[in-house]
């Protein structure tokens, strides 16, 4: 039994963390945070060159052919540094194509995505909290190609993506080229300025249906997404705990560093106690997706719900633990605070997935 990251995985985390620290230090992160579009193609290109655009894709198409756990440990690192990169949407879109596309589609679409030459994202959400494949309403064309109409919300990096993987009725998934006629991409101002959002409206937009897409493949994409968000949430929450601890060691009041005050000390301990055990939860959920099919689906739902709630709570506590500065735009905690808000909603709120977990347990 070996429930731990491999040396390769640890190295991967270090490399990615180091790269972000060099290429997107706090000063640069703030620029992008305050920037109008909040996207840095060079930064993403750099990560793609490290292979992050195709970690999970077949070697034949330029991927590294690794597992969900490898994607997840990267997601944790990106979450810890609140990296303003389109990793999540791209990973899910390519997972969809790789799982639901036929050989020809995969051979045609994946290489330029695995290399990072092109950027893809997923357009799943619909008005009223619709996220699940079985809830998608946009009509799917009968043939392999055709047109799609309707509106998708909360599309991460929708303004930058070259391709959208769009969720259709019955769990079908289709690829739409951003340049296709009558694809209207409208910026949506979200709280999280590290992963910008768009509302995308299709009006008889040309699309190509992924041949093998169905509720099962779409469900797989959903589950991978849930785990990656859980990992991002863990990384972010854990980082906030460290930031709060450091602040408590440096900030003075009444003549001592505030870390001396037992009340604050225990609030900080509670934050740590709340998040630290969840590391193993997201690890297990990620591992299960490739190795423990019976537990995979339910554990993904529970991991997402649990970690997003922890992240939200810790984001609030960390803000308070930073006193006045925590409440300012200059303060750093707010960047993660807002990322936590988007993690909580993306792919469905904790409530939605706890209800699913209960159903799946046959409760």
């Amino acid at each position: 039994m070996d429930f731990d990251l491999s040396e390769e995985q640890q190295l991967l985390q270090e490399t990615v963390g180091q790269f972000i620290e060099n290429e997107c230090p706090m000063a640069r992160l703030r620029e992008l945070f305050d920037d109008e579009t909040g996207y840095d193609p060079v930064l993403w290109k750099g990560l793609a060159e490290m292979g992050l655009a195709g970690i999970h894709l077949p070697a034949d198409f330029g991927g590294s052919e690794l597992e969900v756990l490898d994607l997840a440990v990267v997601a944790e690192t990106l979450g810890a540094s609140a990296a303003p990169v389109p990793f999540l949407g791209h990973a899910l879109a390519t997972e969809a194509i790789n799982r639901a596309g036929n050989d020809e589609q995969r051979a045609r679409m994946l290489p330029s995505l695995a290399s990072g030459e092109h950027l893809a994202t997923v357009a799943f959400a619909e008005d009223g909290g619709v996220w699940l494949p079985e809830q998608w309403t946009l009509a799917s064309p009968d043939g392999a190609t055709g047109t799609v109409s309707g509106t998708k919300e909360i599309v991460e990096f929708g303004e930058q993506a070259d391709y959208f993987v769009v969720g259709l009725a019955g769990g079908k998934m289709a690829v739409v080229d951003r340049n296709a006629a009558s694809v209207e991409i409208q910026r949506y101002e979200g709280a999280d300025r590290t992963r910008r959002l768009a509302i995308v409206t299709f009006e008889n937009a040309e699309c190509e249906v992924l041949e093998h897409s169905d509720l099962e493949t779409a469900g797989r994409v959903r589950d991978v997404g849930l785990v990656l968000i859980a990992a991002d949430a863990f990384g972010g929450a854990r980082k906030l705990v460290d930031m709060s601890m450091e602040y408590a060691k440096s900030r003075e009041q009444f003549g001592v560093t505030i870390g001396h005050f037992q009340a604050l000390k225990h609030q900080l301990a509670d934050m740590a106690i709340d998040i630290e055990p969840a590391r193993a939860l997201y690890w297990f959920a990620a591992h299960a997706l490739d190795h423990l099919p019976d537990e995979a689906v339910r554990t993904a739902a529970i991991a997402k719900s649990h970690l997003c709630d922890r992240y939200s709570r810790i984001a609030r506590d960390a803000t308070e633990a930073h006193g006045g500065i925590g409440y300012t735009w200059e303060g750093d905690t707010q960047i993660w605070f807002k990322r936590a808000m988007q993690d909580r909603v993306f792919l469905g709120t904790p409530r939605l997935h706890r209800d699913r977990a209960a159903d799946l347990a046959g409760w």
């Binding site: 959400a125 009223g128 909360i154 300012t328």
Partner: protein, 404 residues
Amino acid sequence: MDLSYGEELESFRKEVQGFLAENWPPEGSGSGSKDDQIRAFRRKATEAGYLNRHIPKRYGGAEQPPDSMRGAVISEEFTKARAPMEPRGIGTMMLVPTLLERGEEWMKEKWVQATIEGDVTWCQGYSEPGSGSDLASLMTKGELQDGEWVINGQKIWTSGAIEADYMFCLVRTEPDAPKHAGISYILIDMKQPGIDVRPLKQMTGSSEFNEVFFNDVKTPEDWIVGKRGEGWLVSRTTLKHERNGIGAAGQVVSLFNGLVKLAKEKKIDGKPAIEDPEIRRGLAELEGYVKAHQYSGFLQMTKDLKGESPGVIQLMNKVNSTNMGHMVARLAMEILGDDGVAAPSGRGLVGLAAGDSDVDGLWVSQYMSSLGVAIAGGTANIQKNVIAERGFGLPRDAAAQKSK
């Protein structure tokens, strides 16, 4: 126990209603600017004894005996008639009472009337970057140089600093005196070189607060309230005038009502959120806290009227409303569902009251500002110390003792 106002007050209410019927809105709304009309109305209302009740006539007040019940009736009727009351602001709320209690005669003449009539506005200079709730560690220093205070340093969390004409400010004037004893309460003209006001952007995107930098800022030697080194005391008398009780509860109540409204507008699983069993229970649970807080306001007001101490409850009002703010925030997020990804609307609670249209942004903003309240009102941890120590006689905790 009697929650009615009684005959005497009801007839007083009729008086007020009569006055308002006659004077608001001002007839011939053409004549004079809106500002002039409001100013004129306030004058009349003051002469009639309805506004500026606690302020002596000679400083432009109504000089009425304190009477919270009449006060309540007046604000009820003015609100009903949408008539303007005293200009809000830290000047009327905090500086004026302080001047009246501690200021020199010339200060009262120079500033009280001008302030209550809105001709002069103030900002408060207490907090500094180094010192959140710990005023003892203030660093901004003032030195007396040929008949003037020369002030250098920095203040933070100063609201309204950009518009303000003056600041009432805590300055360390006695470097050798121990901690609190070295601080003086000094008035500063904000319209002078050497003062640099920088807006402080909050996580909500709005900038209600500012940083204020003093670089050889000058103020006359006698613009000091109380004696040198008494600033700490003087500032306490100001704080004393921050009213709790009924007023405070009002905010929480309307916040709660706003949340119920939100639950009626938003949908969960295709049905109005207000029909969701868990949301309904959540609201009813929250309402328990809200009502307890609201009625505790009645209790405190009654004790005030009787001149009795309301007891430990009055130490709790702030922590309480802060706690409720957190509960509201969490429940609001549940109700918002996916709309909880929205960017905060800067106007936040203000906009909420004003019925702004960007509902999602307003509530996201409340989700954030509920934290700001905690921080602004002196962190909850400090207040819990006070409750435990002053309210229940627990010992001061060791860490704090070290600083004594």
